[in-house]
Amino acid sequence: MSEVDTLSPGLPQALAEIREDFLALSISDRLQMLLEFSESLPEVPDGIVPDDAWEQVVECQSPVFIHVDTDEDIPVIYATAPQEAPTTRGFASILVQGLSGLDRQAILAVPGDFPQSLGLNEAVSFLRLRGMSGMLSRIQRQVAEAA
């Protein structure tokens, strides 16, 4: 069981740490950190996700697809987005890395307003953040459907 964030019960430790890291930075450095996340989005090895299993996150401005493998107790989240869409890749990377290793209950308990709590509103605008909310809610839906 992960430690819980005192400010936001339900937020797993990894996501809470990501949020703290963002909030500690200036607005322009937050963008740099988002760029670093975009560069560290794990590659999805060929063939590991069947083509028809990808779900498009239509809330995003760029073609981004997610898939949650729920065969085991600990779901595995996959995401792909083009190199030309670093903001979207950054959002996906935060979620893929921040939710990694969590069980279903912990994933479902992540507050829906997590994307809005990272201090990125001013840096990237609320419109763009909607894409991240779309990713989170689709990940949670896939996990819930498999439960």
């Binding site: 963008l31 760029l35 401005q61 840096a123 605008s125 909607r130 779309g134």
Partner: protein, 300 residues
């Protein structure tokens, strides 16, 4: 003009060839004093992954809009932005960006509201520059602040408001959104975030001419003959009457505005930046559903 125009032959067909530069011209003028290159993308981080050497970034959403009111910067704020970006009033500003220069033309249009004299588009934008294997850098410039004058924004010439559009009904209107948005099946671009219009459809009498029809595969603009076929022959936009273009929030229609105003040379073209997010949520404005333009409502 501070710097002479690009004399490349392919640009001379257009009404205002001085509003375009080729990738070759830009590559040769990166260090020319008085030339400032501005990258404006949909994705706010794309510039940071690599950009044309010396280019500054201007983000459409966080830098050109007023942070509170749904409006653009005022003269004071624009002057501050220009100073931060190292742009002087007499500089030649060359815009480029992703997606066939969609956002670059938007930034150029906003600069035009402040009547910045010499604004140009890099024909083909970011994609063509990269496709040609030209230099990119991650090194951010540190421009020296400039003393840009405070110029009041002129909303009367290039910009249309909802009331202007109501009075304009019956004269040429161009809806540059996707056919699905035009017909009212959906209120936003396919695969794009919903931006909150409460009704779907289009403004009565508007012609449906999706913006990307004006762009080639490589991001450059289509030839003048092709543009005239699309706008003049197929949709009756001759330039004899004033034209208003709109989309969802005024960005895609900036691309069409640039084409009509600078490439085809139509004098009176305005961009309705309130666009469908305003019209589709406004109370008691006329709307047409379906794929036909529809009739202008009778004047009361």
């Amino acid at each position: 003009m501070a710097v002479g125009p690009d004399s490349a032959e392919e640009l001379q067909q257009y009404a205002h060839p001085e509003r375009l530069v080729s990738t070759e011209w830009l590559a040769n003028n990166l260090n020319t004093p008085g030339v400032v290159v501005v990258e404006s993308d949909e994705d706010i981080l794309l510039y940071d992954t690599g950009h044309i050497p010396g280019a500054v970034k201007i983000d459409w959403h966080t830098e050109l809009n007023d942070p509170v009111v749904r409006d653009y910067l005022d003269g004071e704020q624009f002057a501050q932005l220009m100073s931060r970006k190292g742009i002087s009033r007499d500089d030649t500003v060359v815009f480029y960006g992703d997606k066939s220069n969609w956002w670059a033309t938007y930034a150029l249009w906003v600069f035009s509201l402040f009547d910045h004299p010499d604004v140009r588009i890099l024909n083909g934008g970011r994609d063509k520059w990269i496709a040609e294997g030209r230099e990119l850098t991650k090194e951010g410039p540190s421009p020296a602040p400039t003393d840009y004058p405070v110029i009041e924004r002129d909303d009367s010439t290039l910009r249309a408001f909802k009331e202007d559009v109501l009075k304009h009904l019956g004269k040429p209107l161009v809806d540059v959104r996707s056919p699905e948005e035009y017909s009212g099946e959906r209120t936003h671009m396919p695969a794009y975030p919903e931006e909150g219009a409460l009704r779907g459809g289009h403004i009565p009498t508007a012609a449906s001419v999706p913006w990307a029809l004006a762009a080639n595969e490589d991001g450059t603009f289509k030839s003048l003959a092709e543009l005239q076929k699309i706008y003049r022959d197929d949709h009756g936009i001759t330039g004899d009457e004033p034209v208003i273009a709109y989309c969802r929030i005024g960005e895609r229609s900036s691309h069409t505005w640039f084409v009509l105003r600078h490439l085809m040379g139509i004098e009176n073209v305005r961009n309705y930046d309130g666009s469908w997010t305003e019209w589709g949520s406004a109370v008691r404005v006329p709307i047409v559903h379906g794929s036909e333009p529809g009739e202008a409502p009778a004047r009361s």
